[in-house]
């Protein structure tokens, strides 16, 4: 394991920020620390960087215990949430700062900085000051500055939080590609599940100072292990009387269920291919989502969300709708169970 935390604890006053955190991260991977605000994800990152000192527990980087090694000596690059670019220095001087501190030769610094500037695609902007750059450009400079001293580990605190939606998507792809090009082990913090799923090789899901689940994005999305994971990842609605939905029975020990939009099939009344397993709901509202229509459907006293193709005949508000729920995540206080629609299973087996 390249980065390893063992039973790390940290309290701020009476607030327990980290509670027996143990994680391990492999070399060369891009890992997302995902969680709501206050879940401890940033504290984990800052502890690894050495900006925060854990109360107890051990932190290893490349097999070395780093608890007593100062931040500057850990070989870690850090990208701050608001970039923290040196505002009185040009792009060049920002990137060169760490190299100058390390007393590299002038030639080496110039070579390295121009290398990085071409990596981030900001040729010609060397003499600009941070306030003359756009959000995305600032982010790239912060990234280059962190990489300049050749760190072994790159830490990014909410790297996309301060950028507007359109550029964020572009930058995500860019960051992912660039990191894999450089080949550096990277950990980034985010509260945005979409971001974590899209960018990372592995997600570490945090909540209340603890690790909820660790796994690949697909694993966490498909097989949430804790109720929190099931609720936080994906866009779900909770339902308690889930036995009303056709094709599902009460499973002992599970009092509620989560319905995700991708579990919901929608059709005009009577037009469903599986008429014996549909539930009748009412369209409450619909939102144009660009590539699809998002329907909010009133069903058994709750509101579920479904995606509906724009190719199909549109629904009016108040119109009846046939809904098929393919799958449910049943949950209680500590467990999650993924259950398929019984009727659909039977139909499929008949067809086979």
């Amino acid at each position: 394991m390249y980065v390893e935390l063992r039973n790390v604890n940290k309290t701020f006053g009476s607030f327990k920020a980290l509670d027996e955190i143990s994680i391990s991260i492999e070399k060369g991977t891009l890992v997302a620390l995902l969680g709501p605000s206050g879940s401890g994800k940033t504290t984990i990152l800052r502890s690894i960087a050495g900006l925060e000192r854990p109360d107890s527990g051990e932190i290893y980087i490349d097999g070395k215990l780093v608890n007593d090694i100062p931040a500057a000596k850990r070989g870690v690059g850090f990208v701050f949430q608001n970039y923290a670019l040196f505002r009185y220095m040009t792009v060049f001087d920002n990137i060169a700062f760490g190299l100058k501190i390390q007393k590299h030769s002038k030639e080496y610094i110039e070579k390295r900085v121009s290398e990085l500037i071409s990596l981030i695609g900001l040729e010609g902007l060397e003499k600009r000051y941070p306030h003359q750059l756009s959000g995305g450009q600032k982010q790239r400079v912060a990234f280059a500055r962190a990489l300049a001293p050749n760190p072994h580990l790159l830490l990014l605190d909410e790297p996309f939080a301060a950028i507007d939606a359109k550029i964020r998507k572009e930058l995500r792809t860019w960051l992912r590609e660039t990191i894999s090009k450089v080949g550096i082990t990277s950990i980034f913090v985010t509260h945005d599940q979409e971001e974590a799923i899209e960018v990372s090789d592995k997600i570490i899901l945090t909540n209340n100072g603890r690790i909820e689940q660790t796994g690949s994005p697909l694993e966490i999305y498909r097989n949430p292990k804790t109720p929190f994971a099931a609720k936080f990842v994906g866009e779900g609605t909770s339902i308690s009387n889930y036995d009303k939905i056709r094709g599902f029975q009460i499973t002992k020990g599970f009092s509620s269920a989560i319905i995700r939009p991708e579990f919901v099939g929608v059709s005009k009344p009577g037009k469903s291919l599986y008429p014996n397993t549909t539930d009748r709901g009412v369209v409450e509202s619909s939102f144009f989502r660009g590539n699809s229509q998002e329907l909010h459907i009133h069903l058994y006293g709750i509101k579920i969300i479904a995606d509906y193709s724009l190719e199909e005949e549109p629904f009016q508000i108040g119109e009846a709708v046939d809904v098929i729920i393919n799958r449910l995540f049943l949950y209680n206080e500590s467990q999650v169970l993924s259950v398929e629609n019984q009727n659909l299973k039977n139909i499929n087996s008949v067809v086979i």
């Binding site: 900006l51 040196f86 505002r87 220095m89 306030h131 001293p149």
Partner: protein, 277 residues
């Protein structure tokens, strides 16, 4: 419509009140100082301001001000750094202590030094044995000036450094920069206009100090008389024109300082806008 009329009336009344107030309370007195000092003609004016006692007083005033400002600049940089960048016990108490000179009457400040360094003071013997005269001598004047101008620079810097947080410094530290480098390359550029502003305010206050200095000075002409004291002395001796002439030097310095202050404020703001944008 009614609202508009009302607000425009309010506007005129408020502006007029401000102008009248500033005029009566500030402009007229300042102007009359200049007019009065020139009342008996240029000859008297120039002979007063070139009088050796006036020159000596001016020199002493500037001397005390320069030392006080230098001292308070160093102290201001250290204290604001300590207070904004570190967590420690008694921080709020320390911040309050720095404000003491704002709250205390300068006369009392002067008396404190008499009580410490004067003939009755506990430190008198020590300094006397080393033949250093503090009270009724230049060191006392410098001390008193430092005391009354103590909070100016740190008060200017503390909120400024607070608002700028420490992420940039953290970033620099993470790259291995040492404290002094961080201070010189990151912190100082942030605070330079605020610092300059504080220095200007501090200078203005130091030059004009009367109360505390008056207690410790002894007012020996040509030796321990500062310009404000000199003005008062001339006034008490009914040399009205001379007194006002000396005062006009102070007014002139004040105007120069005001202009400098405005330039600094303007530049600082311009840079601030630049940065935010």
């Amino acid at each position: 419509m009614k609202q508009e009329i009302k607000s425009s009336v309010t506007r005129i009344v408020l502006i007029a009140l401000c102008v009248i107030f500033v005029g009566v309370m500030l402009i007229v007195p300042l102007a009359s100082v200049l007019v009065y000092s020139l009342r008996e003609g240029w000859e008297v004016f120039s002979s007063t301001i070139s009088d050796k006692y006036t020159i000596a007083a001016l020199k002493l005033t500037l001397y005390a001000a320069v030392i006080a400002v230098a001292f308070n600049t160093i102290f201001g940089l250290f204290s604001s750094w300590a207070i904004t960048k570190f967590r420690f016990k008694g921080k709020n108490f320390l911040t309050t202590l720095i404000d003491i000179p704002f709250a205390i009457s300068p006369v009392i400040a002067g008396l404190i030094f008499i009580l410490i360094f004067g003939r009755i003071g506990w430190a008198y013997d020590f300094f006397n044995n080393h033949s250093i005269k503090v009270v009724f001598a230049v060191p006392g004047i410098v001390l008193a000036t430092i005391f009354v101008t103590f909070p100016f620079i740190s008060r200017e810097l503390i909120p400024l450094m607070h608002s700028q947080g420490s992420e940039e410094e953290e970033a620099a530290a993470l790259m291995g920069a040492k404290g002094l480098t961080i201070y010189r390359r990151i912190t100082l550029p942030h605070i330079k206009w605020g610092l300059l502003y504080g220095i200007i305010l501090c200078t203005a206050r130091a030059l004009g100090e009367f109360g505390a200095v008056s207690v410790v000075s002894g007012k020996i002409r040509g030796k321990t008389n500062t310009l404000p004291l000199h003005v008062e002395q001339l006034f008490q001796e009914f040399h009205l024109t001379a007194s006002f002439a000396a005062a006009s030097i102070l007014v002139l310095i004040a105007i120069i300082i005001l202009i400098l202050k405005n330039i600094v404020e303007y530049k600082g703001k311009k840079e601030e806008n630049f940065r935010v944008r």
